[in-house]
Assembly symmetry: C2
Homo-oligomer: 428 residues x 2
């Protein structure tokens, strides 16, 4: 047994510094669990001369990735650069060179999972990515291992803290989207360009990773249907509240009849659902398996120390795999299941539209939906006397996406009916 | 690599039958993850001739444990007998004989964990017990592994479904304890003799297991302070509701100043706390670590299939450890921390007492508490004019148990004050 394993870290930003600090802070218990000493030997940075506060931790700063990726004096590689390039290339090369890799990189794992696993197989080592989804929440390993005997039926996750913060503020404080986004940006929860979060792309990448593990079939970001939260209004949230619902940006993966359904969109869920009270920047993943039933994992989805918690949990596993080689669990995607086209996905819908306040308009709306084969569960008309318009909120029974789309087109052609302002999916 | 691993199962009751069925149902994915074929070769039962419905699964039934425990043609042992004897003896012998053991046995792991781990070390194999706490919820492995880099500060669990069902009914339906217990018994959630559940003993054993893993120090059932729910009244629940609290039987483990505090008792928690909405027979464990912050694991804490989910997840790990031997993670209890005496534990308290409705009685109650060094946060008097008594509810600031006990003794000696009817701890 090697007395000490040498860690090379690619990147030393917020998360990387958290890893260095946490290793120092809890060194005794981490090394005990790892079964070996752990040295953070080297870290790749853009400018090694830049001053850094690492709390007195000694680590050699290098600007050349070759000093880590395939270096003979590095045993385990931790990748916290983020983004696909050049991170993917480094990960693949380190794995091929026989170094276990621990990564927080959702982009690489979602987009290039197959290539990464192939490299791990070549190198005879494993790749660990607990930190790539849900920050500090243990979800990757529970899905692969503890729940490994289940046929997973669905995963539903709140996996983006920015949008959950915004929707929480809109729900609890009555803020508009724009106000909540601005506040999130001021607090540093949202990027100056918030597109990846707000439009569901970040959640989509995480869903690709979760779904690949859950359904044992490769799911890629391009397979995921995404719809963002920028069109959600305070009015919809208020209607939802009256109907006993809460709105969340959910990343939903399901297996139905052998096909995988993957979608990210604003979703009304029952206020009683365990996900409904997951507020602010918390994340949670709700998993349903044929044996375990319903289970949920909740915690901090981001932040330097929560992410470092997952990374160092993986480093412990990587260290153990290094000192006593075992067959790697490897890629779980051994079945190749088709992806369900979003047009064929079936859900219930909430619709909101503004109509001219004319006799018979409610009947015409109901008639148009009925003719298009959309069955109505509830319909509610509220007049706005000043504007001489009325607002109509409709809750449908289950209907496939293709049908609701053609129904909406038909609806907008009805005299006195304006645009359909909201179309929000409902999960039981 | 052996083409097939042979499993010997000790016990074939409700859980054992679930394991057999689930293995059959999800054989393909389980074997893929295990990396080998799995055969349920033999099961220990009291009467092999008794008819059983195992859904057509073939398994040799034996009444002699020797056909499994040290049998050369058994590779992995699954123990689902329950109870300490003879289960502990079988587990220890199988481990010493070099067979990985998967067990659902909270009694053995809580009481004899040290002996079991020692046997595992002798045999060079690991013992797996995900099913011993929280049924289908992945919690043992996440605590040991994914959260392994954290110094765990506290675990707070709803780990007994029977009492959670009773308290939920009392809270949501306003039932009395006796009515709710009777219903739980009729539904089969509670045993004819409900003592182990109702008095917190079952939760105490699970807390001993969780705390040993969390604090890396052996905690035994005898170390755990337990107080049951049989004295909780609808009146207390109603008072709590007005104060924004919900009552739960919590298993609480904390490390403070190097000492471990372990206690099971009815507890008021904020209605906003994630544990507050864990209702019915659900279980949840709320874990706070220095890096991860707050995290929660929720799911079915009992039942044949949820428990089988955890057992077969462990069987997969056991199979992998068998085909590619690795250093076992082994016992985590490498520090020996003292157990905090319950008398020195500090919490806030809710007290309820009935007094004679006399002028000055409220002042006398407040005075007696103040003299005993108990600082009052809220105090509320409600007269019962018919009975010429008044009810006084008191919420204290933080106070150590020793002090509250002497304060209560002093209080009961005050003229016109009757017995203190309720004393319920409050967690933030």
């Amino acid at each position: 047994m090697a007395p000490t394993l040498r860690i090379g870290m690619l990147g030393l930003g917020n998360v990387g510094a958290g890893v260095a600090r946490l290793l120092e802070q809890n060194r005794e218990l981490i090394e005990h669990k790892a079964g070996v000493g752990l040295t953070l030997s080297r870290a790749l940075v853009r400018d090694p001369r830049k001053a850094r506060d690492l709390g007195g931790i000694q680590v050699e700063l290098v600007s050349d990735p070759e000093a880590i990726v395939e270096a003979p004096d590095i045993d385990v590689v931790v990748e916290v650069l983020g983004g696909t390039h050049p991170a993917k290339d480094y990960i693949v090369r380190a794995l091929r060179a026989g170094k276990p890799v621990v990564t927080a990189n959702k982009d690489v794992m979602a987009e290039y999972g197959a290539e990464v696993y192939a490299a791990a197989e070549v190198g005879g080592v494993d790749v660990f990515f607990e930190a790539s989804v849900g920050g500090g929440i243990p979800i990757i390993r529970p899905l692969k291992e503890s729940l490994g005997a289940n046929r997973i039926q669905s995963v539903m996750g709140i996996v983006n803290g920015t949008t959950n913060y915004i929707l929480t503020k809109m729900t609890l404080e009555g803020w508009d989207f724009g106000v909540a986004l601005k506040e999130a940006q001021d607090l540093g929860y949202a990027e100056p360009d918030p597109t990846a979060d707000v439009e569901g792309l970040d959640a989509g990448r995480k869903l690709a990773i979760l779904s690949s593990l859950a359904f044992l079939s490769r799911v890629q970001p391009k397979d995921v249907f995404t719809e963002g939260i920028s069109r959600i209004s305070a009015r919809d949230i208020e209607h939802g509240r009256r109907l006993g619902w809460v709105i969340k940006l959910l990343a939903i993966g399901k297996e139905l009849d052998g096909a995988v359904e993957v979608r990210v969109h604003p979703t009304f869920i029952s206020a009683q659902h365990p996900l409904a009270s997951v507020n602010g920047s918390l994340n949670a993943i709700f998993v349903t398996g044929d044996a375990v039933g319903e289970t949920m994992f909740l915690g901090r989805g981001a932040g330097s120390f929560p992410t470092a918690s997952s990374i160092l949990g993986d480093v412990i596993a990587a260290a153990r795999s290094k000192t006593s080689p075992q067959a790697t669990l490897g890629c779980c995607c051994f079945v190749d299941k088709p992806i369900q086209d979003i047009q064929s996905v079936e859900t219930r819908y909430y619709l909101r539209l503004t109509v001219k306040d004319q006799p018979g308009v409610l009947a015409r709306v109901a008639g148009a939906l009925g003719q298009a084969g959309v069955s109505i569960a509830h319909i509610l008309q509220t007049p706005d006397e000043a504007a001489r318009t009325a607002e109509i909120a409709v809750v449908t029974h289950r209907v496939v996406e293709r049908q609701i789309r053609s129904a909406l087109a038909a609806l907008e052609a009805v005299p006195d009916v304006g645009a359909v302002e909201s179309k929000i999916r409902i999960e039981a």
